[in-house]
């Protein structure tokens, strides 16, 4: 194979892969801001790696954690934060948010979370619905949230792509988009899709209809991928032949060469199908599946569907019955993202228990996550964890703070594939850090300072400096009668 054909082949592969890997449409414009070093002194540090370090310093510089230890020396230009009696944790990560897509105010004009017009809409991307002015972003920041995954809603079997954002104020979502984070795909089990489409008298209207829907979608994507594979093979053949002719052409007469060239027509590529393209990327492992699923039996069904089509579900979301299959989830390396205590609002949430997180966390290699799915809950993820700890304790499943913090940091980072960048306080990691006024697993705990990539994004002592959505401008003038 000569150099030319190799280049052609490479570019055709890139073409076929498209979306997640290729031309990177809608690239992130987020840049780590320049900020002076910060030395946080004498805090109780929950590292997110399972350790609790008392009376410990954390040094932040150049957007990264530089060091964690006792009696660290401060660089000359460092701001010193006296954190005696305070607690320090990694920035909190919520992998189930609809901020921006179901924004406040919840008016029709901002109702952009569910493309509920077809049960499979893997072609839609949540980021195109994100309204960066949702005031929910800033209230979440006050609760210590530094990263979130924004998902489409759960009306559809396959709802579309998620987007991972840093919780920084931006006029565009691209300015918030987490650089290099891979996409997630939102899928949904159970009542929501079957209700939404059942009411329209179309499929799916049952759980068996749901499963048929996922399977057909992925079968179509397999077929689509085969078309691309075939095209790529033909293109490669074509390139090879063309190159051979070019090599041999010098020896032959000009007339003959021209005639032969006419026979060589390049294959035409299949038409891009944005829906199937996303699913094909899922099957290649380039997009991570986050699946809304309440019941344990349905989660088990979906693990089998994933096996059938060779993709991985990284996390079940809501997972109200995850406690019934805690061992299986741990064995499979699948995370469960849960509320502390939501239950009862629909039949598939009827078996909710307040020990769900603690039970799911118990087996070895488990991956329990606290998520919000709520513009209110996201402000208090630490309290959700605290409630689950208390109920776990009463059931004989003691979870120490240094372990529970992983539900909000390291485990969600892992589910997003960002565990090398965020989720723990370790030298070299991005400096997403929260300073709490005390033990964060308390109803009285408040985040005092929130850093994202080393930049102070929220400071409770200086309310005037906190981010304020464009939407809320003018409010204080109207209030001051």
């Amino acid at each position: 194979m000569n150099l030319l054909s190799r280049i052609v082949l490479l570019s055709s592969v890139a073409c076929a892969v498209s979306g997640a890997l290729a031309s990177e449409p809608f690239p992130s414009t987020y840049q780590v801001p320049i900020s002076s070093p910060v030395l946080i002194q004498g805090a109780t540090v929950l590292t997110g790696t399972g350790e609790r370090l008392d009376g410990t310093d954390v040094l932040i510089a150049n957007g990264r954690i530089q060091a964690i230890g006792k009696g660290l020396a401060a660089p000359g230009d460092a701001r010193i934060v006296d954190a005696k009696g305070k607690w320090v944790t990694p920035g909190l990560i919520d992998i189930h948010s609809h901020l921006g897509v179901y924004a406040s105010p919840a008016v029709k004009g901002l109702d952009d979370g569910n493309e509920a017009t077809a049960p499979v809409t893997s072609n839609v991307w949540a980021e195109h619905s994100v309204w960066p002015q949702d005031p929910g972003f800033e209230t979440a920041l006050e609760g210590g949230i530094t990263t979130m995954q924004i998902l489409p809603g759960s009306a559809n079997l396959i709802g579309g792509r998620s987007v991972v954002v840093k919780n920084v104020q931006g006029v565009t979502y691209q300015a918030m988009k987490f650089p290099g984070a891979v996409y997630g795909l939102k899928m949904a089990c159970g009542e929501n899709p079957k209700r939404v489409y059942g009411e329209k008298h179309q499929a799916p209207s049952t759980r068996m209809g749901n499963v048929a829907g996922y399977r057909q979608a992925f079968a179509d994507a397999q077929d689509y991928q085969q078309q691309w594979d075939k095209y790529n093979r033909e293109l490669s053949e074509f390139s090879k032949k063309k190159a051979e002719r070019a090599d041999g052409g010098a020896k032959k007469s000009k007339d003959k060469d021209a005639a032969a060239d006419k026979e060589l027509t390049p294959p035409s590529p299949p038409k891009r199908d944005l829906k199937l393209e996303t699913l094909a990327e899922v099957m290649k492992g380039n997009i991570r599946v986050h699946m809304h699923c309440y019941r344990s039996d349905e989660m088990a069904t979906m693990l089998d569907v994933a096996d059938e089509f060779g993709f991985k579900i990284v996390a079940f979301h809501h997972a109200v019955e995850a406690y019934k299959i805690a061992d299986r989830l741990a064995d499979k390396g699948v995370c469960a993202a849960m509320w502390a205590d939501w239950w009862g609002f629909k039949m598939e949430a009827y078996d909710g228990v307040q020990e769900n997180l603690a039970i799911v966390d118990f087996p070895e290699r488990s991956c329990a996550i606290v998520h919000s799915d709520s513009a209110d809950g996201i402000q208090r993820l630490n309290q959700e964890a605290a409630k689950a700890m208390a109920h776990g304790q009463r059931a004989g499943l003691t979870v120490a703070p240094e372990r529970a913090i992983r539900w909000l940091t390291a485990n969600p980072a892992k589910s997003l594939g960002l565990q090398d960048q965020i989720g723990t306080l370790e030298a070299g990691k991005g400096a997403d850090v929260v300073i709490w006024n005390g033990n964060p697993f308390s109803v009285y705990a408040l985040a005092e300072q929130v850093f994202i990539d080393g930049a102070l994004r929220f400071d409770r002592a200086h309310p005037a400096s906190k981010p304020r959505s464009d939407f809320l401008l003018g409010r204080h003038i109207a209030e001051a009668l």
Binding site: S104, P105, A106, V107, P135, G136, T139, E191, Y323, K324, A326, D327, D341, W342, W343, G344, F345, K346, M347, Y350, D351, G352, V353, Q354, E355, I359, D361, F362, P363, E364, S366, A375, D376, Q379, R380, Q383, A386, K387, M389, A390, H391, Q393, R394, A395, G396, L397, T398, F441, S442, V443, Y444, A445, L446, F471, L472, R475, A478, E479, L481
Partner: protein, 417 residues
Amino acid sequence: MKFLYLPALMAGGIMAAQCAVAQDFVIRGATVHTASAKGTLKNIDVVVRGGIIVAIGSDAGTSGAVIDAKGKELTPGLFGGLTDIGLEEIAAEAQTVDSTLNLKSPAWDQQWRPELDVTVAYNPRSFVVPITRIEGVTWTVLVPSAEDSIIGGQGSAVVLDGRYNAALSGSRSLFIQMGAAGAKVAGGTRAAEYMLLEQAIHEAHAPGPIGQGALLHAAGREALTRYLSGGRVVVQVDRAADILSVVTFAERNGMKPVILGGDEAWLVAKELATANVPVILDPLNDLPTDFDRLGATLENAARLQRAGVRIAFSSGDTPQARLIRQLAGNAVAHGLPWESALAAITSTPADIFGLGATHGRIAVGQSADLVLWSGDPLEVTTLADQVWIAGRPVEMKSRQTELRDRYVEKVKAHQAR
């Protein structure tokens, strides 16, 4: 686990034999949060006889069983807020929901049914009842609603000990939906809410039968009339301007208003204090979720309290009524004094619903609705060790604890971390 289970087991053991009748006992040595003017009393004994608190003091009353509560905290049984406990099993399953009237009448042909009282539909055998009460919630106020009228109907406070006749007398109230949500069923403008209310009040006062186009039936006129001479009317409304309009309207028509929601109530705190109108709010509401709540803030509760407005808390969430303490704790974190936060989920709602003489406080003569806690009652990591309602110990079990026990054993048996 060793420590946490002990008190519950002890109390349960002592009480095991007497399920049916209220028992005489003394809770010894607890830190007692009275939710009354007496505040918090340390190392105090509370004596219960015949379901009533008969003495509070040091070493008071030694007859009957003794519950050692040293190092524990005791509060009155908590208010669960305004809910549909016992009226709604699963919100998304219509056949399990009895809280909402839907006569499917169009806006121009409205039928108002203030005579509807949802209390009669209360089911004390609902699974939600034990799930809620083992978290320390001993009573709630049932809220009716209507899909095509701003008048929801009437509801009463009920006690959550499983009795059939659960309504607490004197607590019956009329519920009205105003603001943007009311405007939707009143014909598109919130002004029509007042127009229709005026019409209904005229009908109620009218001497004879009303002709075509009447909002009210005879029974409805009779029911509404009861509220036009000092009756308690709970009005759901959030916008500051609407709150003031409601207060003015209610007073002009002889109704005693209670504001429910009140996300912007802090903006008119002074006026509410002067008019002595209480507010039942969710102190966690801080987002401008609609244009009636642009002023929502986590400091709503603290600001209202500072202005002298009586406040109580309610999330309005039926399955999660048990989280009422979390609302109170967060209000404290955002500036509300701890004692006021406790009052907002005990004595103040009892006063608002006319039950203050018998419920909501730890005081002599009050019903022995008590909760013994493992620590600070407003802290999310604290759990109820034992609950008593009318002097009877509650079995600290529910469908959820049975699910828990089944699967905890399973996961423990499989592998240890």
